[in-house]
Homo-oligomer: 109 residues x 2
């Protein structure tokens, strides 16, 4: 679903990646667990995710401190290591400040 | 592909959407045309895109002026109108400033 974020400013972590060809089941389990775990972190606002040729996961956060704390989370650190050793061929993480947003909803307009 | 962006700061436009169930061919053609057109705009740095339940398209730009100019582009404006009337059930556009990034490439490390 499209996340209902608060009024800007808030932060977006744009994570884009190419998967390796191994460990699909393990990867699904890990992804699911990480989203559950992120969801209970202080400052987490939501996550949007899609994958075709490349994968894109955008997570939204209240501030930079929340992002830093999540990066240092113990179970998340284990997942990061597993990501580099096994699941990802390449990835990029971009930490960005959302300055403005607007939307459209055909059911409302 | 994952875009090779320059050193931050630069800008990311995070566009997330749910499609309607109509016009798949027209939509593909329009998407392709818009990406071709964006690619030749001043300040365009690249685009990453994936769609499953939701669609996510992140385009990268040198500065806010490039984003504004692209929003005002004549053909893009026609596409925006068509998007609201036909292709999108709902969407959200988030304009964000990338402050920091890092990556991993298994072929290089």
């Amino acid at each position: 679903m499209i996340v209902k974020t608060p009024e800007p400013p808030y932060y977006a972590v744009i994570f884009t990646f190419l998967r390796t060809e191994v460990g699909n089941n393990d990867y699904s389990l890990m992804s699911k667990k990480m989203i559950e775990l992120a969801s209970v972190q202080e400052g987490f606002l939501g996550v949007e995710s899609a994958r075709e040729e490349i994968g894109i996961t955008v997570s939204y956060w209240k501030d930079l401190k929340s992002i830093k704390d999540w990066k240092e989370n113990f179970d998340h650190k284990i997942a990061q290591t597993k990501g580099r050793s096994t699941f990802y061929r390449t990835f990029k993480v971009r930490i960005s400040k959302v300055e403005r947003d607007y939307g459209f909803d055909s059911l409302k307009d």
